[in-house]
C-alpha cells in the first residue's frame, strides 16, 4: 500500500479554522528492536489545540507521544521511518539539538515526579540549568508558571516548603508549572490524571482548557470521558495503526470506523 494513502485527513472543522498545523507526523513508523510499534502514522496537530490519543494498552499511543520530543531516543535498539515536523522543521534534522527540542516540547508524566526540593526550586530548576541566576527573573518565572498552572494561590505563602509535602493533584500541577517555566511551545501529557481523585482531575482538566490558549497540547489518556471532555481532536490507535482521527465530537458521536465505534461504546475485544 502506498504509505501516503493511509494518511487520515480531518475534514475542515470550525474548531481548527484559521489555525495552522503545528505538528505534522508523516508516514511515521517505529520499532523497538524487531517489534514494530507504530505503522505509517500520519496526522497533523493544529496549534493551540488539544489532541487526545486513545486506544487500548499497547496500541502505540504513548510511543508516538514520546517520539514527539524524542524521548524514545533514550531506548536501546529503536529505529524509525517517516518524519515528524514541528513548526515546519523535522525534529530529526541534524541541526536540531535534542535538549533544545525537549525545552520546546515539555512533558508531564503519569506519575507526578517533583524533585526533592522546595516548590520554588522545582519550578525554576530548568532555568537554573540553563544558567539563569538573576533572582528577579527566577521569581517572576516562578510566579507566572505557578499562576498558569492554577497553583499560585495555594502555595504562594510556602514556596520554600518541600514539594513532596503537596497533595497528588498539587504535585501534578507543580510538574505542569515546571514544564511551563521552560516556555515550551508544546505540552505532552501522558496520562496526567490517572493517579488523581475526581476533584484533582477536574482541576487538571480545567488547566488544560486554560493552557490551550498558549500551548499546543497532546494528551494520552485511557479515559475516554477525559478525552471527550478536554480535547478538540481525538486519534484512535489500535495495534500500532491510526484507525481514525477527527474532531472529538465526530469521534465520540458518530465515528466513521467500526473499530472506533466498538472501542468508544465498550464493545471492543
Amino acid at each position: 500500500m502506498n504509505p501516503s494513502a493511509s494518511r487520515i485527513k480531518v475534514q475542515p472543522a470550525t474548531e481548527s479554522e484559521g489555525r495552522k498545523d503545528y505538528i505534522r507526523i508523516q508516514d511515521f513508523g517505529f520499532w523497538y528492536g524487531a517489534k514494530k510499534a507504530l505503522d505509517a502514522i500520519s496526522l497533523d496537530v493544529p496549534e493551540q489545540r488539544v489532541v487526545a490519543f486513545i486506544g487500548p494498552s499497547g496500541c502505540g499511543k504513548s510511543t508516538l507521544l514520546r517520539n514527539l520530543n524524542r524521548m524514545n531516543d533514550l531506548v536501546d535498539g529503536i529505529r524509525h521511518e517517516g518524519d515528524i515536523q514541528i513548526a515546519g522543521r523535522s525534529i530529526y534534522d541534524p541541526g536540531i539539538e535534542v535538549i533544545s527540542l525537549r525545552r520546546r516540547v515539555g512533558m508531564v508524566f503519569q506519575k507526578s515526579n517533583p524533585f526533592p526540593k522546595s516548590i520554588y526550586d522545582n519550578v525554576v530548576y530548568a532555568l537554573r540549568i540553563m544558567g539563569v541566576t538573576d533572582r528577579a527573573i527566577l521569581d517572576e518565572a516562578c510566579e507566572t508558571s505557578l499562576r498558569k498552572a492554577a497553583l499560585w494561590d495555594e502555595v504562594k505563602d510556602r514556596l520554600n516548603d518541600s514539594a513532596l509535602g503537596l497533595s497528588g493533584g498539587q504535585m501534578q500541577r507543580l510538574c505542569i508549572a515546571r514544564a511551563i517555566a521552560n516556555r515550551p511551545e508544546i505540552l505532552l501529557m501522558d496520562e496526567p490524571c490517572s493517579a488523581l481523585d475526581p476533584i484533582a482531575t477536574g482541576k487538571i482538566e480545567e488547566l488544560i482548557h486554560e493552557l490551550k490558549a498558549q500551548f499546543t497540547i497532546v494528551i494520552v489518556t485511557h479515559s475516554m470521558q477525559q478525552a471527550a471532555r478536554v480535547s478538540d481532536r481525538t486519534a484512535f490507535f489500535y495495534l500500532g495503526k491510526l484507525i481514525e482521527y477527527d474532531t472529538t465530537e465526530k469521534i465520540f458521536m458518530n465515528p466513521t470506523q467500526a473499530q472506533t465505534e466498538a472501542y468508544i461504546s465498550g464493545r471492543f475485544g
Binding site: G202, E205, E206, H209, Q225, A228, R229, E249, F252, M253
Partner: protein, 217 residues
C-alpha cells in the same frame, strides 16, 4: 467547582428560552392577525416558524453533544432529558401559531368576521399560560409550573364553549359559515398550545424535583 463545559448547559437553556419567547411572540402576533384581519402580520408569523425549527435542531445537537462528551449526572441529566421534550413542545407551539396565522388568512379572504366566539379570550389565556410555563422554566419556579397544570383546564373549557356555541348540543350546522369552521380550528390550535405549555411545565417539575407528573389524573 464550575467546569468550562457547564457553559454549554447555559447555552442550551438560553436556546430553549429563545425558542419559548419566539413561540409566544408568534402566538400573540397570530392572534392579532385573526382579530385585525391582518394578512401581512399572518405572513410574518408563518415566516418566523423556520427559525424555531432551526433552534429545535440546534437544541437537539447540543443535548447529544453534552450527553456524549461531558458525562452529566444528577440534575444535569434531568435537564438534558427534559430539554429534548421541552424543545419539541416549543416547536409544536410555533407550528400551532403558524396554523392560526394560516387560518387567519383564510378568514380574511372571505371577509371580516364580526363574531369571533370566545377565541380572543381563549387566546389571552393561552398566552398567559405559555408565559407562566416559560417563567417557570426561566426562574426555576415549581409553583408557576404547577399553576400551569391547573390553568390548562381554562383553555380546554373555552375551546369546548367555542364548539358548543357554534354547533350547539344537537349538532345543528345550518348556521355555521366556512369562516366559523376556521375559527374552530384556531380554537383547537390554542387548546393544543395549552397542552404543550402543560407538557413544558411537567418537564420543569421533573427538572426541579425529579418528580414525574405526566399522565396524572
Amino acid at each position: 467547582m464550575q467546569r468550562y463545559f457547564h457553559d454549554e448547559l447555559r447555552q442550551l437553556r438560553d436556546d430553549l428560552i429563545l425558542m419559548g419567547e419566539r413561540s409566544l411572540d408568534m402566538t400573540r402576533l397570530a392572534l392579532r392577525a385573526v382579530e385585525q384581519g391582518d394578512d401581512a402580520l399572518a405572513l410574518q408569523v408563518r415566516g418566523m416558524d423556520d427559525r424555531v425549527d432551526e433552534l429545535e435542531k440546534r437544541v437537539d445537537r447540543e443535548i447529544m453533544r453534552y450527553l456524549t462528551l461531558f458525562g452529566p449526572m444528577g440534575s444535569d441529566v434531568r435537564l438534558l432529558l427534559a430539554a429534548r421534550d421541552i424543545g419539541h413542545d416549543l416547536e409544536r407551539i410555533a407550528d400551532e401559531a403558524s396554523v392560526i396565522a394560516k387560518r387567519a388568512m383564510v378568514i380574511s379572504e372571505r371577509g371580516p368576521l364580526k363574531d369571533l366566539l370566545h377565541v380572543p379570550q381563549e387566546g389571552i389565556i393561552a398566552c398567559e399560560v405559555l408565559r407562566l410555563a416559560l417563567d417557570g422554566f426561566i426562574e426555576g419556579d415549581i409553583n408557576k409550573a404547577r399553576l400551569v397544570l391547573e390553568r390548562d383546564a381554562e383553555i380546554d373549557a373555552l375551546n369546548r364553549k367555542n364548539y358548543e356555541s357554534l354547533f350547539g348540543s344537537v349538532g345543528d350546522t345550518t348556521k355555521v359559515s366556512a369562516s366559523h369552521v376556521e375559527l374552530i380550528f384556531i380554537s383547537k390550535a390554542l387548546e393544543r398550545i395549552g397542552d404543550h405549555s402543560k407538557n413544558v411545565s411537567e418537564q420543569v417539575i421533573f427538572i426541579l424535583s425529579g418528580e414525574d407528573v405526566r399522565h396524572a389524573r
